[in-house]
């Protein structure tokens, strides 16, 4: 058995230690906010936090995630009111929306480490999260909006 602590709740799973974390989150625990896209750590749609660091859940084996604090989009805030989630709504960032949970999780990891990032900081941290709708300008604007709120 492997025990995962996801969004503050413990889950004991009868799963292979090599199973990707994404499979366990979606198929065993039922948290489907984290998306499957490329499955090869190339697109960022499956980004979650492991002890606060953004990781690609599609390539993280359960053996690495066990014992760590795992946060998914469902656990980023209690009521969907994390400053980034609010900014995402205010600026109507998503288009199709599929990549956006990964985008928000990467943005949250960025702001936790650097509360007032420059355009260059944002581009360097967010460039691994692909958006086929091309919402990048609004993603960057939403991150700046949250950073401005931090400054005030």
């Amino acid at each position: 058995m492997i025990t995962l602590r996801v969004n503050g709740a413990e889950h004991s799973l009868d799963a292979d230690p090599d199973m990707p974390l994404l499979w366990a989150l979606r198929d065993l625990i039922g948290l489907t906010g984290t998306k499957y896209a490329c499955g090869e750590a190339l697109c960022g749609a499956c980004t979650v936090h492991l002890d606060g660091e953004a990781v690609r859940a599609c390539v993280v084996p359960l053996s690495r995630a066990a014992g760590k604090r795992i946060t998914t989009i469902e656990g980023l805030s209690r009521n969907g009111d994390h400053p980034l989630q609010q900014a995402w709504v205010e600026l109507a960032v998503p288009q199709c929306g599929f990549c956006q949970t990964g985008q928000i999780m990467s943005a949250a990891a960025l702001l936790a480490a650097n509360p007032t990032p420059s355009d260059e900081d944002i581009d360097e941290s967010m460039c691994g999260n692909l958006c086929r709708c091309g919402t990048y300008p609004r993603i960057r604007a939403a991150i700046h909006r949250v950073a401005e709120g931090t400054k005030r």
Binding site: P20, E40, E53, V55, R64, A109, D121, E124, S125, G128
Partner: protein, 202 residues
Amino acid sequence: MTDPWPQYVLVALLAVGGGDLSGEPLRAAGSFAAIPDRQERSLALFAEASKVLLHPRCANCHPPDDRPRLGDRHLVHDPPAVRGPSNDGVPAMRCASCHQDRNLEHARVPGAPVWRLAPLEMAWLGRTPGQICAQIKDPARNGGRTLQQIWEHSALNELVAWGWKPGPGRTPAPGTQKEFGDLIRAWIDTGAACPPVTEATR
């Protein structure tokens, strides 16, 4: 009736790679004993070891800029990744965001413990053996290591070891880590001579 498709499919699969590739051989350190002059022997040992230092599996993580490289043609890392202040990426794009402590066959992502770039002052990519040799011996550009510690890094380090176990579809570094370590040991024991520092041509 013969169906040609299975053969085409097999050829296509072989063409895109994915199987274990073999590396170039490395001469054994002992084979250099025939060179009577100590300085000449040391230079020859370093020249042989340079085949490893300049190999893409090693040089790709020793770039002279902030971008890791990929493949045998040193392509810029894609997805875009940058060095960061600690050589392990930036927030949300750490090396460990994607790379694990082992190679992943299902996702083809390479991995080893403490996956990261070598510090900028230890850049090898595009440099000559003479330039690299001078760097390796300079504590200001080798992480403050003694020659003994250089041997330990070469012969025993787990991340260095990945160069010979890069996973399916990647050409391993020449020889074995043991043979490389023996070359470095013999090079040190013969005075750690360096070739002339010449400018790289590429």
